[in-house]
């Protein structure tokens, strides 16, 4: 999944750049990073507290925001978690939640690489 995420993010960055939105992308990366950091923390906390509403909400937010920066596979995983939670299967998402947490630093790495390339 890591390579896939990196490719997707790079492709999206290229799209933004070619469309004249490089400056906006820089801003978006910063906004996303802050938001996604908070979501990842919220997800784990809500999971451990058994708070389904917060868990679903965090997965929901992570799903759409991640897709906007090109992390579509990561977004799909958040979507899978959201659906399961909505259907009352939050406990069964433990494995997917761990995958999401493991993948997130790699998504951040890819986004950082984009940021560096844009600021050169």
């Amino acid at each position: 999944m890591s390579d896939q995420s990196r490719k997707e993010i790079m492709a999206k960055a290229q799209y933004w750049t070619e469309d004249g939105g490089a400056d906006f992308l820089l801003k978006l990366l910063s906004v996303y990073a802050a938001q996604a950091d908070a979501c990842i923390v919220s997800l784990r906390r809500a999971f451990e507290q058994g708070n389904q509403a917060d868990f679903t909400s965090a997965a929901h937010t992570l799903k759409s925001s991640s897709a906007n920066v090109g992390a579509t596979t990561f977004s799909d995983l958040a979507n899978k978690i959201e659906i399961a939670s909505r259907q009352g299967r939050m406990v069964q998402t433990a494995g997917d939640l761990t995958r999401l947490e493991e993948e997130y630093p790699r998504v951040r790495e890819a986004l950082e690489a984009v940021r560096v390339s844009l600021t050169k």
Partner: protein
């Protein structure tokens, strides 16, 4: 609505608790669609902002903490200054109850999250153009044979050109004489033409990736656009003279206003004055497209668009058929909205609506319930639209059934029909037909024999009933509890 609009710039408020989504939407609205945008990150701030400032349109997220989008929308509708403000829902995941609440609160459109830039721009540019036009356009709806669309003595014309500057010049130069619809590419041009049925169509030399001649040939093949006059817009010295068999004339492509007008006027001689041509079903067709795109799109959390191709139903094809009636007692008219698609399309719909796997979505019961609910919502939207025109229609019950073949397909969508598409090429058809409504009263003793319009009883679960179906003991008890003495049964005869 419209108070905030200044020099054609649409002022938009985005209410979304996700900064990434809000910033992304704001970027597209500002950079690509020329809107002036303000963002707030929760419903409360949104309501405060709306109390202070006039906006032309609101983009509203649904799932938000503290006050969700439905509550915000309810507040907006309850406040006289914003009661008619166009609200576009930003949706990624909504259940059917939420969607139903939204539809009752009259949303203007929906946008699916996560955003797909191209689809977003394509969809919103058409909707925002419509918003600009709302300042001057008045739609008058009547039933077949008498349906007209009037634009305050302005005729609808269309400009398709991928140069935004020229479109802007064209619209601002002619905006006082015509209602101008803009399209930036071929797909938009076809969809908007079918939707707005313009009198004149002006095609620039470049219309996205579509070859101009091919686009015009397509338009010429659409029956509802028969009689459309099409003009090429070319700069001086353009080498390729358009094919005279496809075009009715040529207009000079120049930014010099007088030179443009001098070239334009002879082409439309007499138009742009006091003429309001009748277009059968124009406005009902338009409202049905809007209702279908919105309801199906919201229910499935995906883009649903009217297809540029004309429907040619295969009468021998098995599939799912659905219908819902709107009954005009006073006028003695009945409008039936019909639906038809093949099995694969239904399964795809159910998977999206209920977010379930294919195996579970194969259940006919689930499919029929889901489609019944969708038809119910579309019918409700159409009833509201008719109501705004002072026409009283009652909503009947949806009925959904499997058909080995679409019997009597010539009758399907007898007065108006269109195709819609979503996802990976799935298509379905929606049609409208009208006939004369006659009624007769029956006593409660007849109820047991079925044939009851449950809507007359105000059953919240009325959609579970259908014509010809026997009432359950529970429902009969409920009818008696409400002291209903008489129920009307509606029958129809072809006009």
């Amino acid at each position: 609505m419209g108070k905030a609009m200044n020099k054609g710039i649409i002022k938009a408020l985005v209410i979304d608790d996700s900064p990434t989504d809000a910033e992304t939407l704001s970027y597209w609205l500002t950079k690509k669609l020329g809107c002036a945008v303000e963002i707030v990150y929760n419903g409360l701030d949104g309501l405060n902002k709306l109390a202070e400032i006039d906006f032309d349109v609101v983009f509203l997220d649904i799932i938000m903490p503290l006050i969700d989008g439905v509550e915000v929308l309810r507040e907006i509708r309850g406040f006289s200054r914003t009661a008619h403000l166009p609200v576009i829902i930003i949706s990624s995941n909504t259940d059917s109850k939420t969607v139903q609440s939204l539809m009752q609160l009259k949303i203007f459109d929906y946008v699916v999250k996560p955003f797909n830039a191209q689809k977003l721009i394509g969809r919103l540019s058409a909707r925002l153009a419509e918003l600009k036009g709302r300042q001057t356009i008045t739609v008058s709806m009547q039933l077949p044979g008498e349906v007209t669309i009037r634009a305050h003595d302005k005729e609808i014309i269309m400009i398709a050109d991928d140069d935004a500057n020229f479109r802007h010049f064209f619209a601002s130069t002619l905006g006082t004489r015509f209602h101008v619809i803009e399209a930036a590419n071929g797909a938009q041009a076809i969809a908007a033409s079918m939707k707005y049925l313009p009198v004149f169509f002006f095609a620039g030399p470049k219309i996205g990736i579509f070859d101009r001649d091919r686009l015009i040939a397509k338009l010429r093949g659409i029956p509802s656009l028969a009689g459309l006059k099409v003009f090429a817009i070319d700069g001086e010295g353009e080498a390729d003279f358009p094919d005279p068999s496809l075009y009715d004339g040529r207009v000079k492509r120049t930014f010099i206003t007088q030179a443009f007008i001098d070239s334009f006027d002879p082409c439309v001689s007499g138009a742009g004055a006091d003429r309001s041509p009748a277009r059968p079903l124009g406005s009902i067709h338009q409202f049905l497209i809007s209702a279908t795109e919105q309801v199906f799109g919201m229910m499935m959390s995906t883009e649903v668009c009217v297809d540029e191709h004309q429907v040619e139903l295969d009468a021998g094809q098995p599939g799912t058929y659905g219908a819902i009636e709107l009954l005009g007692h006073k006028e003695g008219k009945r409008m039936t909205i019909e639906f038809f698609c093949d099995r694969a399309c239904v399964v795809a719909m159910v998977m999206r609506m209920l977010q379930i796997e294919e195996e579970a979505a194969n259940s006919l019961g689930l499919a029929h319930d889901s489609l019944g609910e969708v038809l119910n919502m579309i019918g409700g939207r159409m009833r509201n639209s008719l109501g705004e025109e002072g026409r009283e229609f009652d909503l009947g019950l949806p009925r959904v059934e499997e058909r080995a073949a679409l019997e009597g397909s010539a009758e399907f969508g007898k007065h108006s029909k269109m195709d819609f598409s979503f996802g990976e090429g799935f298509r379905f058809s929606v049609g409208v037909c009208f006939d004369v409504l006659s009624t007769r009263g029956i006593s409660t003793s007849d109820i047991r024999e079925g044939m009851v319009l449950a809507r007359a009883l105000d059953f919240s679960g009325g959609m579970q009933l259908s014509k010809g179906r026997r009432l359950s003991a529970e429902m009969i008890t409920e009818i008696q509890r409400r002291g209903v003495d008489e129920i009307e049964v509606f029958e129809s005869t072809q006009s």
